[in-house]
């Protein structure tokens, strides 16, 4: 039942970065407030006209971990679907993706989603995005997730994720918010987790 280790990170991480002071904010950032005030009034009307736009602006719609038997191991949705919808969607996607040979693209279009998937030993990572997303970047994001889990669990495997489902979720929560990728700095991602482990 134990899996072969997920692929290890190749490029060594340099956790000690340059001096953070070398990072400086952009120079043009301090616009005068008055200038913005006038722009704001226009925007209010515009915003109201647009109404709820979040549907179209969200990039990642769900992250799914499935083993090669098609059993769900982790599921995080960034839009609400009922249990039945999730079940149906997962079934369809898994059937589609798992049947594809290795040499074919890692992208599959399904309904309104584009699914980007990557296989690590017996685990499939699947990410559903909307139409206008950079597929290659998502593919690398998946790898980044795996690297992060690897660093925390040390040679992560299916059982690690099963036994520590909440921790895997916590990591994902740090990396993706509102369907956007917000963090890939492993130090930042794992810091809260490690702090929590220390206190308990």
């Amino acid at each position: 039942m134990i899996l072969a280790p997920l692929s290890r990170h190749r490029a060594g991480f340099r956790t000690t970065g340059n001096d953070p002071q070398s990072w400086r904010g952009p120079s043009g950032g301090s616009d005068s407030a008055s200038e913005l005030g006038s722009a704001r009034e226009e925007r209010v009307g515009c915003v109201e006209k647009l109404g709820r736009i979040w549907w179209t602006e969200m990039t990642i719609r769900f992250v799914l971990l499935v083993n090669k038997q098609g059993q769900t191991r982790l599921a995080q949705y960034y839009e609400y679907l009922t249990i039945e919808e999730r079940r149906a969607l997962e079934g369809e996607i898994v059937r589609k993706c798992l049947a594809r040979p290795d040499n074919q693209c890692s992208f599959v279009e399904h309904r309104n989603y584009k699914i980007i998937y990557r296989r690590y030993a017996s685990l499939f990572f699947l990410v559903g995005v909307d139409g206008e997303e950079n597929e290659l970047a998502i593919l690398e994001f998946i790898h980044c997730v795996v690297e992060t889990m690897d660093r925390y669990f040390g040679n992560v495997c299916e059982l690690d994720i099963m036994f520590h489902l909440e921790k895997a979720h916590f990591m994902l929560e740090e990396m993706v918010m509102n369907g956007c990728i917000v963090e890939i700095n492993k130090q930042n991602i794992l810091n809260p987790l490690q702090l929590m482990d220390k206190t308990t």
């Binding site: 134990i2 616009d31 515009c46 690398e140 036994f163 979720h169 918010m177 700095n185 929590m196």
Partner: protein, 1035 residues
Amino acid sequence: MESWATDIVKKAFKQGSQGTVDQLKTIGRELAMGSQGSSKDFLDLVKAIGEAKSKAEEERIVLAEIELLKKRIMEPDVPRKKMKEYIIRLVYVEMLGHDASFGYIYAVKMTHDDNLLCKKSGYLATTLFLNEDHDLIILIVNTIQKDLKSDNYLVVSAALTAVCKLINEETIPAVLPQVIDLLGHPKEHVRKKAVMALHRFYQRSPSSVSHLLTKFRQILCDKDPSVMSAALCALFDLVSSDVKAFKNLTASFVSILKQVAEHRLPKAYDYHRTPAPFVQIKILKILALLGAGDRHTSENMYSVLLEVLKRCEPGKGEPATNISNAILYECICTITAIVASPKLLGMAAEITSRFLKSDNHNYKYMGIDALGRVIQINPDFAEQHQLAVIDCLEDQDDTLKRKTLDLLYKMTKSTNVEVIVDHMISYMRTLSDAHNKTEIASRIVELAERFAPSNQWFIQTMNQVFELAGDLVPAKVAHDLMRLLAKGAGEDDEEADSLLRSSAVESYLQLLGEPKLPSILLQVVCWVLGEFGTAGGTHSADDIIGKLCDVAEAHPGDTVVKGYAITAITKICAFEIAAGRQVQLLPECRSFMDDLLASHSTDLQQRAYELQVFLGLGPDIVQKVLHVNGSGEEIEIDTDLPFLQEFVDSSLANGARPYVHENERFEMSSGMSSFVSTSRTQQEPSHALRFEAYETPTVHTPSASSSAPPSLLPDFQEKKPESPRSLRNQLAADNSQVDLLGPEITRLRLDGVQKKWGRPSAPSQPPPVTTSNFDQEIERSGNGGSGVSERASSNRESTPAVHVYTEKKKAQPEIPAEKQRLAASLFGGSSGKRDANGVKGSKPAPNRPAAGNSKEKIPSTAQAPAPAPLMDLMDMGGGDLFSAPVAKASYDPFKELEGLLDGPSTAASTSTPAAPQKSSSIDFMSLYDSTPVVSHNTVPSTNDHDFLSLGLTSSSGIEPMNRPEAGLLDLNEFPANSPLAGLAGLEQSSSSSSTSLPERKGPSLQDSLQKDATTRQVGVTPTGANPALFQDLFG
């Protein structure tokens, strides 16, 4: 069950020795877990789920778990650790597809816990279980508020994470002030989450944070890269909703991107030695939005784009990483979106080439996508990569194939439409799911309508689409196809039209041999067979009727198809009778008709009766009523129905009541016991409480209901003292007064009607087609041949395109001829050359027919009123219509009919005076051309007006004059319908139940008329499947 068990045994056997090692490892893990405090129960559950070999087994485990949890979780005083575990188990239950709603409340409770891990788990479970509109959310808002104030930054950030998922539009104000405060939190971790929370608020309800736009700008300058990148997410949304307001941030974005690309961020933000790739991609996306169509803004980005491109290029000898290619791809997207410099475009093209040439399918996919973007700016570019594109098209990989079809869809022209549509159709054959099929079918239809080289091809293509996608195709497509067949290519080329039709008939007869056809295709088939089945003379009426009966018989449940079939039979019989031949219905047809005569569907019944009537008529009248090939003829309609004016006048003179608009009629009858001499006061008691002041007693004002413009009201008020009846009399007698009643409504409606129906098939399919060809032609001559798919290039030996192609040929001599041919037909340029060399494809070279066709069609375009799309033409037709009937020498239909039926009638006297009104009278007979089915039994026996009054007087309690006028109104609304049909329907309804009030019948009669009218107009059916049309008509 047994097979399932053996399956497990087999699997276990296969794993054999591997299994024991695994088991040992599992035990090791378990021990490790146990030491961390997980209970035996939990370990067992996870193990059981992990070892489940089938879905059924998993299901069983989860169901047992649910039962267990239901009992355990409710026990009092469950220790906190245990509770946390239960909640994770609930998460499992939901993850595996079962409802765990019984435990939601415990997850919510868990968020109160002091222990951070428990609290976080509680929040996690809550976000996984609940959507933002769940009832329990309100319980959690308080906890969140409390946690946002916590000293422990991890608690605050846990609460902010929950805010992002749980706060809905109504609860935003409850937490907004606190979240804004947290933007200044010392911990960057918290600041980042606060920004994301605001981002979420913006997504939920933009107005809630519209006063915070400056904040977002400030956060962009945060000294922490994580916070800055979070701000980018929010700004991306803001910019995409309103580009202009953020143009002044361009310099900031450019400078951030520059710093990131130059590796000025801490190394921890690298991914595989690429500095903060997701930040770069996000900024590139924002720049694409800012620079679109703005040369000045775009110019500010040139240098940073070059820098990013340069840094992402792989060094010598090392392969490019995925992530740098992802950034390169994003650069292409940005470059093609902004007003780019030639240098940047050149680089984008180069990278695209590299992607396309790669063996990796992922890169190929990105390459195809990038190519689609590049050719929108530089169409010539496609030609270099034709072979790569065709490779992708023919690849086994479904994703790649689809992406390539997307690309081809974007580059379709009249020269390559046949090949591309061909590919789409063969791809559609392989599809099984409805979503994809619908999409691709609609694309094929769109391309075919825009670029069809010939009608013949169009029809064949449509047939294939119907066959494959069946009922996923909208009904409009079928109607367009029928219209095209009816109308033919051009007026002057009758021969080609009949050829087209006979070929359609042949193909459909063949098609009927297929076992299973979708309903919509059968409808088309029936219509075509009915209309043109016997026209060519190759098929006897009996043959066709037999086929039609077979169709109807094979689809007993499909009333629509049945309706089409019986109407088609009616038409064929009519043609036969008109040609003077004796019609002897086949026994199966007879039984089919008898079936329908007793059908529950009134529509089918009506159609069957019509057939029956036709069978009893003589050739003369049938010929008049149903022309051969009458479907394509235009119907002129004068909505004033002036030919009835005489009749109306004389009736009014004889003391009949004037017409009252339907709305008013209803209002009156609802409040009054009888129509005769009522006053407002009498009406009062029947109403419920009235809160407004009483008006002065006056005429019940019909204008109120018909919403007459206020300016007209004074006029009306002057007439108050008169009795309603005399007023109405006046109104009806005088047309301008009638207008007063509801001028706006009536007028508008009529206009709409005319435009929609005036010339039913006038612009049909050919004009758009020829137009597009024509445009292409113009474009060509204008550009002097700009490259791709230019058949003109065959004449120019020295075009660069040809060079490229020949070079390719040299470089890759092993490319199969088949592929080359395909390439040539897709990217026309080189095909010209090859054709000149005499290498002819097995398929008909698409250029030829297209070219020939466009030449042929130019004159016909000139004939068409204007080379405008369908709807425009309709509008123009509407304008013409007013003059059309006047110019047309028309005749009085009643008189005509009367001549046919011997036996003078009183109608003759009334209708004769109408005859002089030639100039404006409607071309009555032409109505029948496309509406073959009318209850003619009433005509020979009954004189129209007698019949009218008969029907009217029999309806009790109502002034007789209401009815004919009602009929008139209906006709106004449905000019396509024949008045006689309306009258006949009227008679039916009045005779069937003479006691019931016509008011009640009114609407239903109208309904049936509506249905009828649409049906006939679109060429057929009774489904009422075209509600949009009704809406158009009725506003």
